[in-house]
């Protein structure tokens, strides 16, 4: 440890002392810290994945007798039947994560003010930008990456079980592997996760802003302004543009990111016809094809990102000043 040499440069700079500085990674450790605090981010989807596998195992044991003639079904019907569990795994895990993540965002900056630990975090050389961006990176980067791994792993276990089941029932394994979109599935999941994160960026940013600002009940503050806006618009102008915009922001990411043979609305219509079952309808979604250009050329994607950037800037502004209120 003989690096204790003062140079003229070091002497000139007010920040540099005689102590040797070691390399630091504030962003990385800020992210780690988020995951230490909010373990539900990975525990909740993990538990749900385990429950799903259990449910699928029970379903496999009670497989209807008609499945014995699976190999004679039409190819389209075969695809719809076999891909249903994979689509279900992806959707249920994403939905679980989404709920956890929305609550995470609301607590991210509220919690550290409530327990006053913000003062400890601020006593360390980590900027407010680093802190807020690390918190934003949880829903934008960490959760999509984790979900991709979790969904792929769960689907792989389903696939192994599927192959074993087919072998036990004397069905053609090669036909099964031929029917399953083995390459398109992970690609589709990755595409969906990435586009969803981008599409939801303004939602996450809004929740972080409320979390940095609300003195109490951030959930209420996150929702009430929008309810008020919708009601105001309906009463004063008789229109519902805000509501339409919110609906599009929450539910429009799939249509924005995938070229579809039929829209979600048509799927729902088909689902309501007699004889249709949910698994088939969901499986039908698997032939929606990922479309990067369609997504990138959608102006709402970019408007959303600009909106998110403004909200995040405001969030950093608030976090910087949060101690300047009380005396």
């Amino acid at each position: 440890m003989s690096t204790d040499v003062s140079t003229p440069l070091a002497a000139a700079s007010p920040a540099s002392g005689s102590a040797p500085s070691k390399p630091v990674r504030p962003f990385y450790w800020s992210l780690r810290r988020e995951l230490w605090e909010h373990r539900s981010i990975y525990l909740a989807p993990g538990v749900v994945a385990a429950l799903l596998l259990l449910a699928l195992l029970i379903a496999a044991l009670k497989l209807p007798a008609s499945m014995a003639s699976f190999d004679t079904f039409a190819p389209q019907q075969q695809l719809e039947i076999v891909s249903a569990p994979y689509a279900m795994v992806a959707l249920v895990l994403m939905l679980t994560s989404m709920i956890v993540v929305l609550f995470y965002c609301l607590d991210a900056l509220y919690g550290e003010r409530r327990d006053r630990s913000a003062l400890f975090w601020k006593s360390l050389p980590v900027s407010d930008w680093t802190t807020v961006l690390a918190k934003l990176a949880v829903p934008m980067l960490v959760v999509p990456a984790f979900l991709f791994v979790l969904i792929s792993a769960t689907q792989l276990i389903v696939l192994i079980g599927n192959v074993l089941l087919w072998m036990a029932r004397g069905l053609s394994v090669s036909n099964l592997l031929l029917q399953l979109p083995l390459l398109d599935m992970p690609l589709g999941v990755a595409h969906f996760l990435i586009t969803l994160a981008i599409w939801y960026a303004p939602i996450y940013a809004w929740l972080l802003l409320v979390s940095a600002w609300a003195q109490r009940s951030p959930v209420v503050w996150a929702i009430v302004p929008w309810v008020a806006l919708v009601a105001f618009e309906r009463l004063m102008l008789g229109t519902s543009r805000v509501l339409g915009w919110l609906r599009d922001r929450f539910f429009g990411s799939f249509d924005a990111a995938f070229t579809t043979r039929e829209t979600i609305a048509e799927t729902v219509e088909r689902l309501q016809k007699p004889g249709a079952d949910a698994a088939n309808a969901i499986a039908h979604g698997s032939d929606h094809t990922p479309d990067v250009l369609r997504f990138l050329s959608n102006p709402n994607v970019w408007i959303g990102l600009v909106f998110a950037a403004v909200l995040i800037t405001a969030t950093v502004w608030l976090r910087r000043r949060q101690e300047s209120q009380s005396s």
Partner: protein, 287 residues
Amino acid sequence: MACIEARGLTKAYGKHVAVKGIDLSVERGRIVGLIGPNGAGKTTALKAMLGLTPFQGELKVLGRDPWGERDLLMQDVCFIADVAVLPRWLRVSQALDYVAGVHPRFDRARAERFLEQTVIKRESKIGALSKGMVTQLHLALVMAIEAKLLVLDEPTLGLDILFRKQFYDTLINDYYDGDRTIVITTHHAEEVEHILTDVVFINDGRIALNSSMEALASRYAEVRVDPAQLDHARTLKPIRERQVFGRSTLLFDGVAMEVLEPLGEVRMPGITDLFVALLSNTTGANA
């Protein structure tokens, strides 16, 4: 270069002006006690120095603008604001990992050595530790940081007397090296006065007194006056008179030792007594 240099430091919350133009210069290596009643503006002034709040006036800490460069400043400044600020969900080992990961001047081995002298377990959550243990942990983290300025805002609030004594002993024996600067605010002025080199009285957002302890000792004196000498002593314009065990004790400002010694028992006044004397004289308010 002074460690802290403030000129006309002012901070208002809406209409309420908490700090009313403070001029303060703290040199390197001093241990400064900021003494004042609740709401005097101590904490607000400290917040401005730590980059936690914007302010009016000029303020440089270690040559930096605290509000504009808080994250850089915190490489050289440590603070303990209150013992309750370590997050309850954090584990001791995680606290060490985190500080080691973000602080370029944190010596983890040193922090581990301090912790070995305590009963704190690495895998414990902070929420499971007693208040005294949390303070020990926070102190272990802070003492392992090669900082130039340490700011302690009521660091021993809510601790029992043994922990409070131990806290300051550790600070002076294991941390203070004569080159570091320490700024302390506390309600227990009598517990820190023996370690201070300087004292700053703040009242109503202004500095009421700013003096080194040596200057204080040579300027102020407290005399337990012999009853026979009392009338004579009173003519020397004491700034405060009180009764201790039935004998009048008079506090003098700038009266020579040769004059005071014949009057009775002379000693250095305590900070608290001095504070009460000075502030009730200048503002009429009691501390």
